[in-house]
């Protein structure tokens, strides 16, 4: 069972570079999310999508963009990378709204990004 797959697992970026974190899920989930986790902190929501073609900002969207052209894929783009974007990024998906009964959220294994 693949679940939620993220690539790359590790990446070092120079300040000002851009990159895309890929995320795909094979569970036919409608809802997909991107979180970031800084050391000693909980996960913060960057962007989310409730279905193909629909995306919206979470708590910390600045410096990021997303798209959702298919149900399976939800890439996260970092434009003009900054040291403040050094973090671990988790993609996640759920069938319905997270936390609602029966709608468990499934996380990918994380992408460790360092901006130097």
């Amino acid at each position: 069972n693949a679940g939620v797959t993220q690539t790359p697992k590790f990446r070092i970026l120079k300040i000002g570079q851009s990159m895309t974190l890929q995320c795909t899920q094979d569970m036919n989930h409608n809802y997909m999310y991107w979180y970031r986790q800084d050391p000693g902190m909980g996960l913060k929501l960057i962007y989310y999508s409730v279905g193909a073609g629909i995306t919206d900002k979470g708590e910390v969207p600045n410096g990021y963009n997303v798209s959702r052209s298919t149900t399976e894929d939800f890439p996260l783009r970092l434009e003009l990378a900054a040291p403040s974007q050094t973090s671990v990024y988790f993609c996640a998906s759920s069938y319905g709204p997270t936390g609602a009964t029966g709608n468990t959220i499934y996380f990918g294994e994380g992408s460790w990004l360092t901006v130097v």
Binding site: M41, G42, L43, P97, T98, G99, T101, N103
Partner: protein
């Protein structure tokens, strides 16, 4: 702003000990409280609690929610080295299209042999 606070931030115990992890929340439109275990990779789901006073149990782990005092605890009995992980709690709030999850900072549990 919704807030979830966990304590302690870190805990070191020996195998066989019992531990209690705490999670308090201040959340508008609260619906449920979730616990996750995070080993080096993705958080994995442990429990979802929606009703006060009803204990959820899975093996040596159990959890309970107090909606009056706005907190939850996660108990682990007879700890094993495999329990070493970060334990995250998160509140689920209604009122949004996606279901808003607010995470605590996590408790780092280290179990020594």
């Amino acid at each position: 702003e919704d807030k979830v606070v966990q304590s302690p931030l870190s805990l070191v115990v020996h195998e066989g000990d019992t531990v209690t992890l705490n999670c308090s929340y201040e959340v508008t439109n609260f619906r449920s409280l979730l616990w996750y275990k995070q080993e080096k990779k993705a958080p994995t789901f442990l429990f979802m609690l929606t009703s006060s006073g009803i204990e959820k149990k899975s093996g040596r782990l159990s959890s309970i929610l107090d909606k009056k005092e706005l907190f939850s605890i996660l108990n682990i009995t007879a700890t094993q080295t495999g329990d070493s992980a970060v334990y995250l709690c998160a509140s689920f709030a209604g009122g949004t299209s996606y279901g808003k999850l607010t995470f605590g900072q996590g408790t780092i549990l280290t179990v020594h042999p």
